[in-house]
Symmetry: C3
Subunit: 350 residues, 3 copies
């Protein structure tokens, strides 16, 4: 089922925060596949298909035993590589297995490789931060919409002015067209708002309501990660003299109509101020939940079952980055599907 | 989507009570179409398709700005005629529009024209009452069933005896067959219950538990309005000497399986008695909600996906008015669809 | 609709506990068919199709009048044989009827015959208990899964060890393969756990934590009844000297994805101890609800729409009884469907 959906495969995806993976298995759907995550006794994360091949009980109801996950229904045990390693009746384990997924922990994130081939390298370093950065906060949201609607939202700074009082600045909507470009599999755009008062989000962190230059530099990387470097500095001063933040947004498709949305936010100032950290965490979570979420879920409802482009969106200058990103993802998926098709034909002819 | 459903088009439908339309947009589905209603700064009601042509956000989440509705997501503004009149980036508005619906306010009701052509005249005057009438109360109900099941219910006085203690009278079930007739696009029936005690509903209003003549005169008019003139008078006296009520019931299809049900009730006596008004309002709302609603929603469940006639209802004399009405609606829809088909063929041949 | 589902027809099924059938009609779906159960004034149970042939209101909203059920919407009355016997307008009843089901009460259970032909004999005597048995308790559960997943669960003693602390015994998982056999339309298996401490469920009843021989003898009979004789006795003593229990489990399909699960439990000791009865009743209900139900509903989710065998379960020795039962049910259904097919062809050729 998952294979027929339009997702980029043979990629690392954000699966869970490390802190979510423990001795109590976690069931989570990724790219339409039902997956059970757990942490072995030796501390290693593991991910296997949730359907026990014995009689199809969900393994996420199971227990961790040593390195294995044990089905709660009949006690079969499966290793992190998916192989059945214990038959509870004491005889030889049956020669069955569940699909095992390559996983890797990096930067407090559990990454999962969604693909048919093994990964050639580790997960991306998007969550690795510069040494000057700290006060890191994070969150996880669930959104009932296609992952590209979340991407659209993040690749479009214009909406911030209309939807988010905290991010409001005229610069967002002043045709940032010239500032969009694609390089390989990445799309960039940036917003530059010189000599204005800081927006409420930055004011809280900056502490001074004086004229500043404000910037937002956004990078999308496939399959679905967006990095935002944003900050303010006193008008005319260097960025180093101001305050800088980095946020990373990882959108992992759950199904054709729902997504997991992981995010982190770090800063280079007032690092030890935990009240500030908590306020920023709560702010991001609130802004998304109360302002973005219902809007993009509303878009999903308005789309109904229709394909996005079939409804002929009236794209504006401000949509350039989002449209470029969407087109690029679709191109990559089309290429992938053509390749798979080809592979299937070759096999059929052999 | 809406166009493929079996509804009568090129008609005025009840869309909302005037009091529902304000500066906060109202999203409501009518005949399967997602529509956003609002009132402009100058006080005019407006109705436009809910899906913003920019990136498909729901306009009912938007804000009213002057005469326009502004999409909350990116700030595009659309006039009451549906045209995009403001591009938030300051450049020329894109040449896009949303479908605008003709609406008209009359008798505290917002009417909407559901059709491809413009209306040739205003909404019907069904809610206009005789000068002697007053104490008007109104309500709005939502029912999870096809609009014709609500119509059936109202065009069938027999059920009142079985389902409604407040309306109980033997006369309702004594073959009112002879009293049903169709004239053009209207269906009439009436019930005459001479020399009986008033039913509980009228007793409350009449105040005297003495023998009365009781009547119910019902008119259905296409597409979906039912007017009921009912009252009691002391046995043998004229109607003018008794008490008279008028109720109007407007059933607007929401989808193939759900309906909006608007109603009013007025009377010609004790007009200034507000407790009486409130009691009558609460009574009608309660009777429908507690007695009719679950029954006709039960019919809808029993129908499942089946077409009404395909299950061969065992029609009785008492069903004559309901069946005549249903047949007439179906005939009008068939004629309409044949005409549309023809129009399509002509175009294709041109 | 019901006819196209894969159920064994021309069988008696458990429909309701006698105590559920009274003057207030009960709507319940059995084998996909919407059925209204009621008890007539003379005390006889009756079951008729729920959809009134008049205008399709659900008869389970109706009232019992004498021997008949009266539709609440318009007052038509139907006898226990399904025939319309009263037209509320006083004229001759219309020549319509609802399907009437053969029902029979036996052992406090209302049984229903689901078939096209009339039953040749009464319902089975599975619930009749030996005279030594008493302290009977019973229950009814609703499970959102195919009835064969409940059957699998009961025909598989191995799961008891993993899922149920109260039933835990090593013997359950020690390859009970040799103890499974089929005779005609029945499947048997038994578990023998000699010289062990009683499990917690039996300890409560037995009262002595001394070494015992413990047994579980299970019989499945088509279409869907499982009888379990279980008990403990001091190691080496006869069963008569120990304590014995009988439980009967009747799984009636509601739809392709949901089931009614009726059960009784009786014992041959401490019969007058009502606290013991109540404790055992609560225990069975709790164990199923808290331990089995979510697991087999999880299996149903993991199956999705797939057919059980198409996912190639990795059957173990311990699955022999469940697999034998499942295969036998499927064989009986296939034979039944072939016969029906043949009957249809013969008719078509005639």
């Amino acid at each position: 089922m998952g294979l027929n959906m339009s997702f980029l495969r043979d990629r690392w995806y954000a699966a869970a925060w490390s802190s979510e993976i423990g001795r109590k298995p976690l069931g989570r759907k990724i790219l339409g596949e039902d997956i059970t995550f757990y942490r072995t006794e030796s501390g290693q994360p593991a991910a296997v298909a949730s359907r026990c091949p014995h009689r199809f009980a969900p393994l996420y109801y199971g227990d961790v035993v040593g390195e294995n996950i044990k089905c709660r229904y009949h006690g079969l045990q499966f290793g992190p590589n998916g192989a059945c390693v214990l038959n509870p009746d004491g005889s030889k384990p049956p020669p069955v297995s569940v699909k095992a997924y390559s996983v890797a922990e990096r930067d407090s994130m559990l990454w999962i490789w969604m693909g048919d081939q093994k990964p050639q390298s580790g997960p991306p370093e998007y969550l690795s931060l510069a040494p000057t950065m700290g006060g890191l906060v994070r969150g996880l949201l669930h959104v009932n919409c296609h992952f590209l609607l979340v991407t659209d939202n993040l690749m479009d700074s214009a909406h911030a002015t209309h939807l988010h009082a905290a991010f409001k600045t005229e610069a967002h909507v002043k045709a940032p067209k010239g500032n969009v470009r694609q390089e390989g599999d990445a799309v960039y755009y940036n917003v530059w708002a010189p000599d204005d008062l800081p927006n409420p989000f930055f004011l809280a962190l900056y502490g001074k309501n004086i004229p500043v230059d404000q910037w937002v530099d956004v990078t999308w990387r496939e399959p679905s990660t967006i990095t935002v470097a944003a900050g303010v500095t006193a008008t005319g001063r260097s960025r180093e003299e101001g305050i800088n933040t980095i946020s990373v947004h990882l959108i992992t498709p759950e199904s054709e109509h729902s997504s997991h949305y992981f995010w982190i936010l770090a800063r280079d100032c007032r690092l030890e101020n935990h009240e500030m950290s908590e306020m920023m965490r709560a702010n991001v979570q609130r802004i998304f939940t109360e302002e973005d979420k219902w809007m993009i879920e509303g878009q999903q409802r308005m789309l109904g079952g229709a394909e996005f482009w079939s409804l002929r969106p009236a794209l504006l200058n401000q949509d350039k980055a989002a449209a470029m990103t969407r087109r690029h993802v679709e191109k990559l998926i089309a290429e992938q599907d053509a390749k798979r098709e080809e592979g299937t034909s070759l096999k059929a002819n052999a």
